[in-house]
Amino acid sequence: MFFKRQLPIAIAATIGFLTLFGWFVDEPVIKSFVDDDATQWFDILASFAMFLGALNLLKMQALKVVKQQKGWPYAALAIAGFMFSFTAGFILLGSYNVEISQYDDPAKVATVLAAEINLDQKSAENILIAMPEGDTYLIETPYFTKKGADKVVAEINAAGGMANMRATEWGSHISTRGSLFNWMFRFIFTPLSATMFALLAFFVASASFRAFKIRNFEATLLLISGIIIMLGRVPIGGHISAWFILYIVVLALGAGVNSYWKDRTYTLVAVVGGLLMVTIAGFIMGWPVDQPAIFYLPVLQDWIYNNPNVAGARAIMIGIGLGIFATSIRYILGIEKSYIGE
């Protein structure tokens, strides 16, 4: 019980207090612990957490497959994908380069080189001729397998050249352009990930059409600000004249007058009077696209971003901050024990 309950709570409380003191107490030992050691501990723990996460993913998906639960083929695919990336990253190096150092007859070696770097015979020959004496030429695109690289080395050597195979250093093979892992990231993960995110555009359009309705005052406010942001943020919004928006405002005002007084005369006076006023003002001002500025979409959009939006975002941030503070204190004092399963 002591090791499962009291000890973890004591460790959390001690480390929590130390970290907190690091911000308020000017003591070099504590400061060094908080700034250097504690962050390094955290980095190490985070690395292990990734490892645990991977194991957990495997366990969950494997259970789905074994129990043949709904959608188990997708779980099998997830395991296969995981295994492939694990193999490409940890087991197979997947990045072997071929380096040409000498040749007797450039034409013969160029035949092999041209096929490997997708160039014509003449260009490949020029590359070899331009190679300074004592220097080497590295075929930039690596080979996934050692066997593949060895085969090219043998072909070059057979053509009278001298080549050798160079394996990319372990670790940097992940970031080497053309390595197996890199290939997997660029040609499998990237398009799949981008496709999933791109689907959002379609769902947003469909959902807006169905759900974005003027049902009450709040929904109307949300809809109007949404439209202003959507149009004001893109270049086309800058081409929509402020006068056009002003005309829409007059018509909306007419609708408001009509629903309030329910009298056609009042509505007619409001709409015709408003339209006339806007038209006269337009002729006087010369119909500039961005004037009056308060009806120009990019300006309206900026105002929404900088005022109501920031006010809301600040309120949320302060709320979150207070929540974090309260939760942290609960952890430090040992009141919150969810991390030990209580």
């Binding site: 390094q40 690395s47 970031s175 890199n182 469909s206 059409f209 439209i227 270049p235 920031v310 975002a313």
Partner: protein, 281 residues
């Protein structure tokens, strides 16, 4: 008239596949037939540009990549544009990644800009430190001592063997900080743990949806300018005079937004007609 209203009500329950098809067309067509809509830089994009303009040749900029392939269309163009601006001014660029896929994004951007366009030398003009797990702890570690977080760079070179790492020990040694961020960990963490405590000038580029969250920091001056989504990237490209993917994507985004607004208006008209009829009968 009734027949026309019938048609509107019917169209209100439009098959979503039709909507998908229309969206696909309005996104694809402007990419093939650009409209060439002029880009108007906003104040926040101009602020980022001005902050980079203030840097001198040889100054040090720390750029952090916190996005992956899913948000690449929004953020990658601004990362590329920013790198172009930095290399144009001969600023030394140091790159870190708080997201594992950020390293691949950084490699791609560096290949495109540092290698292909500006012919910069690795280790002298730019360095890719790579990815470390730990989110805020990594930032805090960088603020305290870079060498405790990174002993080697992404290529496996020891930091002490890299010429441009000489005299660079912590975040305070940099002249400028930029976070290309698509979420957590990202811009907010860089402000809280690096830019604010050290006083290093920081700007950011985020997805459009994140702008709301980051805007309070921009207004308070803790972040100098923000590039918001693809429009932000397009604005930055126009400011540096090098149109790229961001600019070409703006036509598609403009038309797509316009069509979505048209769908919303049409959906509401249909909703009103239906509601009026329901009240009537």
């Amino acid at each position: 008239m009734e027949k026309f209203l019938d048609y509107i009500v019917k169209a209100g329950s439009l098959d979503r596949r039709v909507i998908f098809l229309v969206i696909a067309l309005v996104v694809i067509l402007p990419l093939f037939f650009p409209l060439g809509l002029p880009i108007r830089p906003t104040n926040s994009s101009q602020d980022v540009y001005n902050a980079v303009e203030k840097l001198k040749a040889g100054d040090k900029a720390l750029v952090s990549f916190e996005y992956g392939p899913s948000t690449k269309p929004e953020i990658h163009p601004m990362s590329v544009a920013l790198l172009r601006h930095l290399f144009q001014k001969d600023v030394k660029v140091y790159i870190t990644c708080l997201w594992p896929d950020g390293q691949f994004m950084a490699m791609e951007a560096l290949q495109q800009v540092a290698v292909n366009q500006y012919d910069k030398e690795y280790g002298v003009d730019y360095v890719l430190l790579g990815y470390r797990p730990g989110a805020e702890a990594v930032i805090k570690g960088l603020v305290s001592n870079i060498r405790k977080v990174f002993t080697v760079d992404a290529r496996g070179n020891f930091l002490d063997d890299i010429p441009m790492m000489k005299d660079v020990n912590q975040v305070a040694d940099f002249d400028y900080l930029f976070s290309s961020s698509a979420g957590y960990p990202g811009t907010v963490e860089w402000v809280q743990y690096a830019a604010d405590p050290t006083g290093v000038t920081m700007s950011t580029g985020t997805t459009s949806i994140q702008v709301n969250e980051v805007m309070p920091y921009v207004q308070s001056g803790q972040i100098v300018g923000i590039l918001g989504g693809m429009p932000g990237a397009a604005e930055y490209e126009s400011l540096i005079g090098q149109p790229g993917i961001g600019t070409s994507g703006m036509d598609a985004q403009s038309v797509a937004h316009l069509v979505i607004v048209a769908f919303i208006i049409f959906g509401n008209i249909s909703f009103f007609v239906e509601r009026r009829r329901a009240k009537k009968y």
